[in-house]
């Protein structure tokens, strides 16, 4: 097993608020880590730091052995990232946007065309490639974000709520897609959908108030009762 993502004692403050308070986790090749927690627990903030968008106030992040703070470009080349809300350049067409991402990542010629075709196929976007992204529905925008994250066939995928805004069929497609890629990648997905955890994840990390509350396999959690109840007990001990 190779550890592709290694996070140690990560900290982040926003003014007086401690958003992330000593989170450590590691993800090996072949693992799909479900990252759970109530809203405001620090999931997105943690993911923003792992992908190098925010600078941590403490702790270290290693992406395939490269520190994201000291060697950001090398680390970013290995990551495919779907940010929260799947932001994109709304005035660009889907194909223009993907070509821009390919350009930035240094994919050229025939290989770039093949990769773009491949991700369009995987995310089923062929019907809308000439439409400006801002005219697309939420589900399509999410899939454009996913296509962008998969474009360079990265070893590491960080997906912030990849199935948010998709209809049940699309959710199923995206889960099948993620599962099919799981074997040779290290994947972190954050989600609020607990059934997704059962269907997809090999490991679960539950955080609340910026701290890791639980790091277990879905099977271990299921042994304690329905996931809903387990999640509530872990994140809200008072209830």
């Amino acid at each position: 097993m190779t550890t592709l993502i290694s996070v140690t004692d990560l900290e982040k403050n926003f003014g007086p608020i401690r958003a992330v308070d000593g989170i450590s986790l590691s993800v090996d090749r072949g693992e799909v880590l479900g990252f759970l927690g109530p809203n405001g627990a620090g999931k997105s903030t943690t993911m923003k730091m792992i992908t190098g968008f925010l600078a941590p106030d403490g702790g270290t992040i290693e992406i395939a052995g490269q520190d994201i703070e000291t060697a950001p470009l090398a680390a970013k080349r290995r990551i495919g990232y779907l940010p929260e809300g799947a932001p994109a350049y709304g005035d660009m067409t889907v194909s223009g946007f993907l070509r821009f991402c390919a350009d930035v990542r240094g994919l050229t010629g025939e290989y770039a065309r093949d990769r773009i075709r491949d991700v369009l196929d995987k995310t089923q976007l062929f019907g809308v490639i000439h439409q400006p992204i801002e005219t697309l529905s939420k589900g399509f925008k999410r899939r454009v974000g996913l296509a962008q994250a998969l474009l360079h066939d990265p070893e590491i995928l960080i997906l912030d709520e990849p199935t948010d805004g998709l209809d049940p069929n699309q959710k199923h497609e995206v889960r099948t897609l993620i599962r099919s890629m799981a074997r040779d990648k290290a994947i972190i997905i954050s989600t609020h959908i607990l059934e997704e955890v059962e269907a997809l994840c090999t490991r679960v990390v539950i955080i609340a108030a910026g701290k890791v509350r639980r790091d277990a396999t879905p099977r271990e959690l299921l042994a304690e009762g329905p996931l809903d109840d387990v999640f509530r007990r872990i994140t809200n001990p008072a209830a």
């Binding site: 190098g52 968008f53 106030d57 940010p83 809300g85 932001p87 223009g96 821009f100």
Partner: protein, 244 residues
Amino acid sequence: MRAALAVYKRELASYFITPLAYLFIVVFLLLTGSLTFFMGGFLERGQADLQPFFSLHPWVYLFLVPAVAMRLWSEERKTGSIELLLTLPVPTTAAVLGKFLAAWSFIGIALALTFPLWITVDYLGDPDHGVILASYIGSLLLAGAYLAIGTAVSAATRNQVIAFVMTAAIGFCFVTAATPVILDFVSGWAGSALIEILSGLSFVVRFESIVRGVIDATDLVFFLSVIGVFLTANTLIVDLNRGR
């Protein structure tokens, strides 16, 4: 370099997807064209040169360049696409440079489209083409200086209106630095050194010496330094926002 080029191409193309580019070019051409004739007395002067045209530029750019610059970073911050841009393998300096050069090229295109004036003056008389070429280069440098201020300010806010107003305000300081209003105000109490510095910082004084046909190395260095300083500030602001 590759990443900077990709950003450059995307930014330049994005001006032309929206009506903004065409609107800007039309307003720029109408404004400079009409003011040259009506305020500058282009025909009445009876001289075959483009002095009345170029002497307007510091004032026209004061409002038009912030309009080009304001969206460069603040729009990315507002829509969240900045998260995408900064998690792609793009060094911050490459993103800053790509955006700046795209906007500068765009202004360059607008400026180049004023060529009919050059043809007109050549038809009417016998102008000094060297001086006119020098003036165009000076004008492009002047626009670059305004633009660098604008991109740096744009990186500091997610509100485009604030970016516009702040850029115009800072630009105004550079334009009026050597006008009698400011100099009279300062000369009462400040030493001659400060007055020297103020007139040295004036966009108008620097630009007008180029328009007279003298491309002095110090004027070139001045405009390039203003661009360099504000682009460095721009990079720092983008990096500082990571720690926010």
